[in-house]
């Protein structure tokens, strides 16, 4: 047993402590999706280890396996050299693993103290637990400089402090291994800096930290080692000091930079959409779209690249009238939209601005509806399909069948429930509905997510021919290849802002990867020059 362990951990010298975390051959499938393929990972105790990768590379799945949310189909987990079965959060906590989730697992109406105690109380009556917890929090504060008012109510705290409470929760439970899943996604730059301070001091005290992120700058700033994931696999391990952002970006997106011999549009027409200094805050007051300006002209595809959650979704919903904007204005097909003069989704459709939403399950289709019913979503009030008081179902069904034939939806059955079509065919129904109306501006979000390869090609072809017919298309995608394959111009969004604007022809994948990961400006610039 011991012999075999030392054999495998070959690179670690004899007498060294075993790695804090060791994953061997972890494999996990969700139906068709192979989320983790034979993943090996070794994290040395007392280090900060980063895991980078694009959306959907399998980082979160891997961490969920480590934390007991999912069980791996195959493979082994060893913590401090001991093989362990981690089947629940409880097992993970027992093994000294704490996790700081992207969405905090805090009870908003509780104080920090109560949150920290929850599940780790020291007796049936709270008063003693509270005294002990308070003392322990004071100790943690002294040791790590983690300052949070224990009596503050969580929902009244700024996000950065909520996150500190989440970290405290893990430490209070004696976690020696801390997993942080995209911890800076919700933080301001200042808060991020504070977090890094905390993580460094945790490391000094011997805590092992596993940091999942897509921001390369954080990896360079903070980590000792870094592993790169791509398509469910770990494709590289590096000592951080021996690599750079350029190499990591390349590893993340894959070396294969194929030539995209797409017929780029050379004769874009008038600006159909002109966005000026648009900003938007969400319900919590966090700025999601930050002072964005750009134009889309007739007969061109403008692609917006970026890692998911950087404001692209909100931007599309704003332009389609679903969300109101807080400041700035935009001009679409001659209509000026401002915070004082908002527009509804209905108005936008009337202006020939159509929207293929990212989330076809909840927005684009009504799953329990028949395909024919879903095929009029948003157009249910049109005179063409209303005969007197009633919807003209024979016509709707005929139209739907026609659309299905044109867009190669299988099966061509307008009476089948929307939920019974495959992902690709569902997406084609949405695209067919929105493109069929010959819009002058088409807003498209994630047109090929969860869609099979054949359908991807078809959808891309449809978008290009739409453009050639003079439609202005704004395309949001987290798939860089898709952006590169279709766009005449590429904008990169990061934290609600547009941080890059490059021509589609000859755009460089590495450079875009750096922009998306908000790599330091020099790295991006030097790349752009080279």
């Amino acid at each position: 047993m011991i012999a075999s362990a030392s054999q495998v951990s070959g690179s670690i010298a004899q007498g060294d402590p075993p790695p804090a975390i060791e994953l061997r051959g972890i494999d996990k499938r969700f139906g068709e999706v192979h989320a983790n393929r034979n993943v090996d990972l070794r994290v040395a105790a007392g280090t900060i280890h980063g895991i980078v990768g694009e959306n959907g590379a399998g980082k979160s799945t891997l961490m969920s396996i480590l934390y007991g949310f999912y069980e791996a189909d195959a493979g082994e987990i060893r913590i401090n050299g001991r093989p362990l079965q981690i089947r629940s959060a409880n097992d993970a906590l027992q093994a000294g693993i704490g996790m700081v989730h992207q969405h905090f697992m805090l009870v908003d109406t509780f104080s920090v103290l109560e949150n920290v105690m929850l599940g780790a109380e020291s007796g049936a009556v709270l008063s003693r637990s509270k005294t002990l917890a308070r003392r322990e929090l004071e100790r943690l504060e002294q040791d790590y400089g983690l300052r949070v008012d224990p009596d503050a109510v969580v929902e009244e705290l700024p996000v950065g402090e909520q996150q500190r409470a989440e970290i405290l929760k893990s430490l209070y439970r004696g976690a020696e291994i801390l997993i942080l899943d995209e911890p800076t996604g919700v933080l301001t730059p200042q808060e991020s800096d504070q977090l890094f301070e905390i993580l460094r001091s945790l490391k000094e005290r011997g805590v092992t930290i596993l940091l999942i992120t897509h921001k390369l700058r954080e990896i360079m700033d903070l980590t000792d080692f870094v592993s790169v994931m791509r398509q469910g696999e770990i494709v590289a391990h590096r000592r951080t000091s021996e690599t750079d952002q350029k190499e990591l970006a390349e590893l993340m997106v894959g070396r294969s930079i194929e030539q995209h011999d797409v017929n780029r549009s050379h004769t874009p027409g008038e600006a159909v959409l002109a966005v000026k200094n648009v900003s938007m805050r969400d319900a919590k007051g966090v700025t999601r779209v930050d002072d964005v300006s750009f134009e889309v002209r007739a007969g061109e595809i403008v692609g917006i690249a970026g890692v998911a959650g950087n404001g692209q979704t909100e931007l599309l919903e704003l332009l389609s009238g679903i969300r109101p904007l807080d400041s700035g204005s935009f001009h679409a097909n001659g209509r000026q939209v401002t915070p004082q003069n908002p527009c509804s989704p209905k108005d936008m459709r009337r202006l020939h601005v159509n929207h293929v939403p990212e989330d076809r399950h909840r927005l684009g289709l009504v799953m329990p509806f028949l395909a024919s019913e879903s095929s009029i979503l948003g157009y249910q009030d049109r005179g063409r399909i209303n005969k007197g008081l009633a919807l003209d179902y024979p016509l709707i069904i005929k139209d739907c069948a026609e659309m299905m034939r044109v867009f190669d939806v299988r099966p061509v059955d307008p009476m089948l429930r929307s939920s019974n079509f495959s992902g690709g065919n569902q997406q084609k129904i949405v695209l067919a509905r929105e493109m069929d109306k010959e819009p002058t501006l088409l807003l498209v979000g994630q047109p090929t997510r969860g869609v099979d390869v054949g359908a991807i090609e078809f959808i891309h072809g449809q978008l290009l021919s739409m453009r050639d017919r003079g439609c202005a298309i704004l395309l949001v995608s987290v798939e860089l290849d898709e952006i590169l394959a279709l766009s005449d111009r590429i904008l990169v969004m990061f934290e609600g802002r547009i941080v890059g604007d490059v021509a589609g022809a000859g755009a460089d994948k590495k450079q875009l990867g750096l922009l998306m990961a908000n790599a330091s400006p020099d790295a991006a610039e030097s790349e752009a020059v080279s």
């Binding site: 959060a89 906590l93 908003d108 929850l118 049936a124 709270l126 637990s129």
Partner: protein
């Protein structure tokens, strides 16, 4: 002056009697709803408890046995609610309504089948009931000005279950705010995922919440049929379970404000009875029905956010599904 003082005291005394089942049911509802399970079946459980207590007391002549069986019966109903809502993730409102309607029918059906008195259970002897308890020196202290009558008229002379109800409030307060169980119960009603990731069973907590709810409803039911009255009468809960629900909401899911709401609603009822047919100068007769409807009207107004805001536990009504 002395006469109106006595009038006030007697009204308070009556209010306390009316408020007792409300207090018990409101505390019961609070324990369930704080765990995230809506309970509109307080009404049904109250009625079931009253029927079982009335029946067992009539058959065995033991008030204590009656109380115990009533609590068991209502606990079983609560477990049924839990089985539907927690285990099978059924709609909590539908389940509660089903229990209310079922109990409303079954108590009459069984009452008539067993006792053949039009749904009433036989009248109980004093030994089979919880009788008023006179506090020591109650009669002697009556003479003490101002405070004496309060002691004699309002505080003394209730049956045991009235005092149990009053004791239930600090007890529930203690459980909810001062114990480990209470901390977890409140957490599971707000954010079950946080509880799950902390390694605690969401299902187990919620079942315990509804179970305690059932036990308290049983006491309330027994109060109706073997303490306040001397037999079970069909539909004797008469909407008090719903008033308790309103009081709990009015108290914003907190024990002490809920107690306040129960006492206020009880007082309204006592006043309504006393004002029946009374002319008030310059105003005419006070519509008693208006006073009786006030608890409901006030709850609607409160829920619409016009007087403060009643914020329910965040996860209430939503079955917990472990995220995949």
């Amino acid at each position: 002056m002395a006469e109106s003082y006595t009038f006030v005291l007697l009204t308070l005394d009556a209010a306390l009697r009316v408020a007792t089942p409300l207090v018990l049911c409101a505390m019961a509802g609070l324990l369930s709803e704080r765990s995230g399970i809506i309970d509109i079946s307080l009404e049904g459980k109250l009625l079931a408890g009253a029927f079982v207590a009335g029946t067992v007391a009539a058959v065995t002549g033991s008030a204590w046995l009656a109380l115990l069986t009533a609590m068991v019966a209502t606990a079983l109903l609560s477990l049924l609610h839990g089985f539907a809502c927690i285990t099978h993730r059924g709609n909590q409102v539908v389940s509660g309504l089903a229990i209310n309607i079922m109990v409303s029918g079954l108590t009459v059906v069984l009452g008539i089948a067993w006792f053949a008195r039009g749904g009433q259970t036989p009248s109980l002897q004093a030994a089979a009931r919880f009788m008023p308890i006179e506090f020591p020196l109650a009669e002697t202290l009556r003479a003490v000005p101002v405070l004496g009558p309060i002691y004699t008229e309002v505080l003394s002379g209730h049956n045991l279950l009235v005092y149990v109800a009053l004791a239930a409030v600090p007890f529930v307060y203690w459980v909810v705010y001062k114990t480990r169980f209470g901390l977890r119960l409140r957490a599971v009603g707000e954010n079950p995922q946080a509880v799950d990731t902390a390694g605690i069973s969401v299902t187990g907590l919620r079942y315990r919440g509804v179970l305690m709810c059932g036990l308290l409803c049983g006491i309330a039911g027994a109060y109706l049929s073997i303490a306040q009255n001397a037999s079970f009468v069909r539909e004797m809960s008469a909407g008090q379970g719903y008033i308790a629900l309103a009081a709990m909401i009015f108290g914003k899911w907190r024990p002490l404000p809920a107690l306040g709401a129960c006492l206020m609603f009880g007082l309204l009822d006592a006043i309504a009875i006393r004002l029946q047919g009374v002319e008030i100068e310059g105003f005419g007769e006070v519509p008693v029905q208006l006073i009786q409807a006030l608890p409901y009207i006030m709850t609607v107004v409160l829920l619409a956010g016009f007087i403060g805001k009643a914020v329910a536990p965040k996860a209430i009504g939503i079955p917990y599904v472990k995220e995949r």
